[in-house]
Amino acid sequence: MIDAVLRGVKAVNRVTLIGLGILLWGGVMIVLVDITLRLFGTSLGGTDEISGYLMAIMAAWGMGYTLTVLGHIRIEALRDRLGDNLKLALDVLAIASVAVVVTLIAVKGWPVLERSWVSDSRANTPLETLLWTVQLPWLLGWAWFALVAWVQFLAALVLIVQGKKARALELIGTANEGQPQS
């Protein structure tokens, strides 16, 4: 059961990555086309605005994936000195805090989308973008992040109860004892 759910999360993340790749390269292309057009005295218009939306959506959807590859930075100076049981206790606390906080963000994000939807708000820009069309994928990204966090939290608990501590550590521990980027 756990394995099937975790495989499902992985599959969704794979599709997400393809989408994010298209958004990322699309963003680069749009900006490059705009710069080229500017050399000829014209412009696409609204590139800034589109980049902003791309950023919001990309970051939101990427966070769920990053959680599954243990990419969110945790300060491990203390954890490294502990035994496996205590490490696991900290890992459970960490993933639980992610789940709770991100759920709160997603819940508080709902009124933002709802207001745009109900009042058909448009951005105060030349593109006059219908805001809900970009806020919907943004909020879904945060909701997905929250869901992934809960799945990992619950899966880890089940694994711990089953005595599979090594697998739980693999799931919610730290990546290769941490090699984040900066």
């Binding site: 994010l20 710069i35 605005e49 950023m55 930075i73 300060i75 090699q179």
Partner: protein, 427 residues
């Protein structure tokens, strides 16, 4: 409130709660305990307005640029070209390590990417030519830190965003200190190897025709630097646009080396998404904390706090510097910057210091954090590329360069013009 912030921050970080989440939790606490307004209502709107940012999209673009360059094979040709120019100095190839890292820093916004690129090409040489592994690997770890100082710099973009200061100005301010640091690293290397020649390898001599012939190998990376940084300096492009141009340039370089494959594209995207999301969770968290602190009246509380301390501005600044040196031993670079910006930058500004200048000072301090044990990311990056020996050797090898950074910190405090001269003269 200051006690709550410091104890809460350090306590939750020690519990290994992810840094971004810690910032949100601190913000929730400030909102509940120290503010008269229901700030939580603004959470959704804050998260939307922070992430919907056309200036922050420069971050994934610069990361993508670095991801492509690392895989393009250009590090190898750059390294061998710079070898011809600088390895005659006492210390030999160690200088090529520093020079290559400096060149890469001028196109890459990340210290880890810079250290990773250089160590992959340089480390095999150390063994083959009989270099002392300590100094050789320490120089790569230290040289790599320049990635966040010499523009473009992801950390400076984040600093500019959170402190609402000009990113182009920050980029300009980082250039001179970055070059001075690189020169300082080379001087220290030469001195050490003059005193104890066994630490460096053979000094290498090349003819001028060999050197001139190698210039063509430096051309792509120089052009890329000019395209990125030049377009920002001359106001032709915003940092975001310059980053997109940089990605275009990196693709051309990868194509010319025959390395632009489908596999490379997918790996670059995966790497970019991961690092971007990791950074964005922290940045959005810090932004929310910033907002709650400002609404809870951090400004007046800081004034009281400072008056209560009764220290001169310089003494307070030195306390802050000391705090960064100590925290830097345990907290990873970007986190260290972002978690401290909401508290420290208003304080520094209230003391009358320039925010752009302080950004550069902070970068030197977090560069130091990258190579000071026990937690120094670049040390681990270089060690993993080495694949043998103990990490302690890299740590020892990096120590002389930590001293250079401390000298730079002192120089920046004594002569702020080192950072501020270039941006003010081009204004």
């Amino acid at each position: 409130m200051m006690t709550y912030l410091v104890v809460g921050l350090l306590g939750m970080l020690a519990l290994t709660i992810p840094v971004g989440i810690v910032l949100f939790l601190l913000g929730f606490g400030v909102s509940n305990f120290f503010s008269a307004f229901p700030l939580m209502k603004a959470l959704g709107r804050m998260v939307w307005s922070t992430s919907n940012s056309s200036s922050l999209i420069a971050i994934p673009f610069f990361i993508l640029l670095g991801e492509i360059l690392v895989r393009s094979g250009i590090a190898k040709t750059t390294y061998s070209a710079l070898d011809r120019w600088v390895s005659w100095l006492p210390g030999g190839l160690v200088h090529a390590n520093i020079a290559t890292a400096t060149m890469f820093s001028a196109t890459s916004g990340s210290s880890v990417a810079t250290a990773a690129s250089v160590s992959t090409v340089a480390m095999p040489q150390a063994k083959a030519l009989g270099y002392d592994p300590r100094l050789f690997s320490g120089a790569i770890a230290a040289g790599g830190t320049l990635g966040i100082m010499i523009p473009p710099s992801i950390n400076l973009i984040v600093y500019g965003f959170l402190t609402q200061s000009s990113i182009p100005q920050l980029f300009l301010a980082g250039l001179v200190p970055g070059i001075l640091l690189a020169l300082g690293f080379m001087v220290v290397t030469a001195l050490i190897c003059m005193i104890n020649p066994s630490l460096g390898g053979q000094r290498r001599h090349f003819s001028w025709s060999e050197r001139l012939a190698s210039l063509k190998d430096l051309l792509p990376i120089l052009l890329l630097f000019v395209a990125i940084v030049g377009s920002i300096y001359y106001g032709i492009a915003t940092p975001t646009e310059a980053a997109a141009v940089g990605v275009g340039g990196a693709v051309l370089i990868a194509l010319s080396f025959g390395k632009f494959t489908w596999e490379m594209v997918t790996q670059s995207v995966v790497g970019t998404v991961k690092i971007t999301s990791m950074i964005m969770l922290i940045v959005i968290g810090a932004s929310f904390l910033n907002f709650t602190l400002a609404s809870a009246g951090l400004g007046t509380k800081l004034d009281d706090f400072l008056t209560g301390l009764g220290l001169t501005p310089l003494t307070t600044l030195l306390v802050i510097v000391l705090m960064y040196v100590v925290l830097g031993m345990f907290i990873e670079t970007l986190s260290l910057m972002v978690v401290t910006i909401p508290i420290v930058v208003p304080l520094v500004a209230a003391l009358g210091f320039d925010v752009i200048w302080f950004g550069i000072l902070m970068i030197v301090l977090v560069e130091m954090a990258l190579i000071t044990p026990p937690v120094g990311l670049n040390l681990y990056v270089v060690q993993s590329a080495r694949g043998e020996g103990r990490i302690g050797q890299v740590m020892i090898g990096a120590l002389p360069y930590v001293l250079v950074m401390l000298v730079m910190v002192a120089a920046l405090i004594a002569m702020p013009e080192i950072a501020l001269w270039l941006p003010s003269s081009l204004q």
